[in-house]
């Protein structure tokens, strides 16, 4: 069970997060949606302390971190229970595809190289990276391949929770499905996922719960079919309508 309580964050007196709560049962997939600037990415980054929240308590798999009073070591332990998939992949530029996945295994878990390589090969197979690309550096791989490697890297430490920040927003349209398929595969394996996304159809298909955040607070949350299909709040309705308009313009 993942419990996130009352997360608050300010930048220069601007309240970005006004106290967000979120509980996620193990193995569930939560999609966070909301307009840009609503604080959804900041919230995601606060969960594993890439950004330190000003207030709030986060507990993941028995590790509990209280903003402001927890020690560095406790935060590191929390970070080792989570993994993060970035919008712009952030693969280590000086490492090949397979080394990207291996690094945390050899450095953090102190696995011998051989064992790390075996795990990494298995994970890269899982995200369907062609074997001949294993030794490529990120700069010579497509965005879709890079993001799939990033997902493999996130899986390497067997985290209890993976946070995904708009994992397909930076991709060319034809590469989006490949990445979403990998995420769906991961979701089926029972790893807890929190995904910030603009892909509503993906959210509808994969997410157990959808949370709509606007202006630093949770406006509405519930089953995906409810929030996306029959939103109760006016703000949710307006947001969904604006996104759908965009889609219909393209379609």
């Amino acid at each position: 069970m993942i419990r996130i309580n009352n997360i608050k964050k300010k930048y220069n007196n601007t309240e970005i997060l006004k106290g967000i709560d979120l509980n996620v049962e193990d193995g569930k997939v939560v999609a966070i949606i909301g307009p840009s600037g609503s604080g959804k990415t900041t919230f995601l980054r606060c969960i594993n302390h890439l950004e330190s929240p000003d207030e709030g308590v986060i507990s993941i798999g028995g590790k509990r971190v209280v903003a402001g009073s927890s020690k560095k070591k406790e935060i590191l332990e929390l970070q080792r229970k989570t993994a993060f998939v970035f919008q712009n992949y952030n693969l280590f530029r000086n490492k090949t595809a397979i080394e990207n996945v291996m690094l945390a295994l050899t450095v953090v878990k102190k696995y011998p190289k051989k064992k790390a390589r075996e795990i990494a090969e298995e994970l890269l197979d899982k995200v369907s990276l062609p074997r001949e690309r294993f030794e490529y550096y990120p700069s010579s791989l497509s965005g879709g391949q890079q993001q799939r490697i990033a997902i493999a890297r996130a899986l390497a430490l067997e985290p209890e929770l993976i946070l995904l920040d708009e994992p397909t927003s930076a991709l060319d349209p034809e590469l989006v499905d490949g990445v979403l398929d990998v995420i769906k595969k991961v979701a089926k394996e029972g790893i807890t996922l929190i995904v910030v996304t603009h892909e509503l159809s993906f959210a509808a298909e994969v997410a157990d719960e959808v949370v709509f955040i606007d202006n630093g607070e949770v406006v509405e949350k519930g089953r995906a079919s409810e929030v996306l299909g029959r939103p109760r709040e006016l703000r949710t309705k307006t947001f969904l309508r604006s996104i759908q308009r965009e889609y219909s313009l393209i379609g």
Binding site: L50, L76, Q79, F86, N90, N94, A104, V107, A154
Partner: protein, 238 residues
């Protein structure tokens, strides 16, 4: 009188070339020390360490704002005086005979401090150019700050800093031509000595210039090769 005494020139050349190791030792050794100093100062600035950060700014500003020659004089006259003063007034913790410290030590200290200030800025900007995304990615897989530095940031920053390092090393080789003030005989000092015997300064200075030029060309080539090897993971300009 000849405009250019070619025989004398040929005769001097090997004698000047013989001092190449001195110049190389001083420049390479101080360069390496400078990179270490620069790295520490860069970290102080990046992590905004209180107090030390101010001192780092002061250090960089002073070194960049004063001539190397003046800095050399200050070190060469300052250090012996401090040691002597300590021995006379305190309990002789520094049990060395000031007169026995070779000039090359002062020179190494002075150039390390001098080049270090420039390297600090190079290294700082290189580390910052690696970008927050890379550090965050390392944090997100549970790596500590030190692990991130060693496996992710330093290897990438090194590549970014390499062209600057190359320039700095070449400058260092040329800047060391002032070491005669500390009584160290390097390429230029040797040229001066040889020239003074017969007042044929033009020949010896040209010989010295050719030696400097030659070594700088070689160093440049080496740097280029290293760069090509190290940048193999970058596709053209990234």
């Amino acid at each position: 009188m000849k405009l250019f005494d070619f025989e004398f020139f040929i005769e001097c050349f090997p004698k000047i070339l013989a001092k190449l190791p001195v110049t190389l030792l001083i420049s390479v050794a101080s360069f390496v020390a400078a990179v270490i100093i620069g790295f520490i100062v860069a970290l102080i600035k990046i992590y905004k360490v209180p107090v030390l950060q101010r001192l780092a700014d002061l250090y960089i500003s002073f070194i960049r704002g004063t001539p190397v020659l003046v800095q050399l004089y200050i070190i060469c006259y300052g250090i012996p005086k401090i040691i002597y003063y300590e021995q006379v007034n305190f309990n002789k913790m520094l049990a060395v005979d000031v007169n026995l410290i070779p000039g090359v030590i002062y020179v190494l200290v002075a150039y390390s401090i001098n080049i270090g200030a420039y390297e600090a800025e190079t290294i700082r900007s290189a580390i910052e150019a690696v970008g927050r995304g890379q550090m965050e990615a390392a944090t997100s897989v549970g790596m500590t700050g030190a692990q991130t530095m060693i496996h992710v940031v330093i290897p990438q920053a090194f590549v970014i800093a390499l062209p600057n390092f190359g320039n700095a090393l070449i400058s260092a080789i040329k800047d060391t031509s002032l070491v005669f003030v500390a009584g160290v005989i390097d390429i230029l000092a040797q040229a001066k000595i040889l020239g003074a015997r017969v007042f044929n300064y033009l020949e010896v200075y040209i010989a010295a210039a050719l030696v400097y030029w030659g070594i700088c060309i070689v160093v440049e080539l080496l740097i280029k090769k290293t760069e090509e090897y190290i940048k193999r993971y970058e596709r053209s300009i990234v």
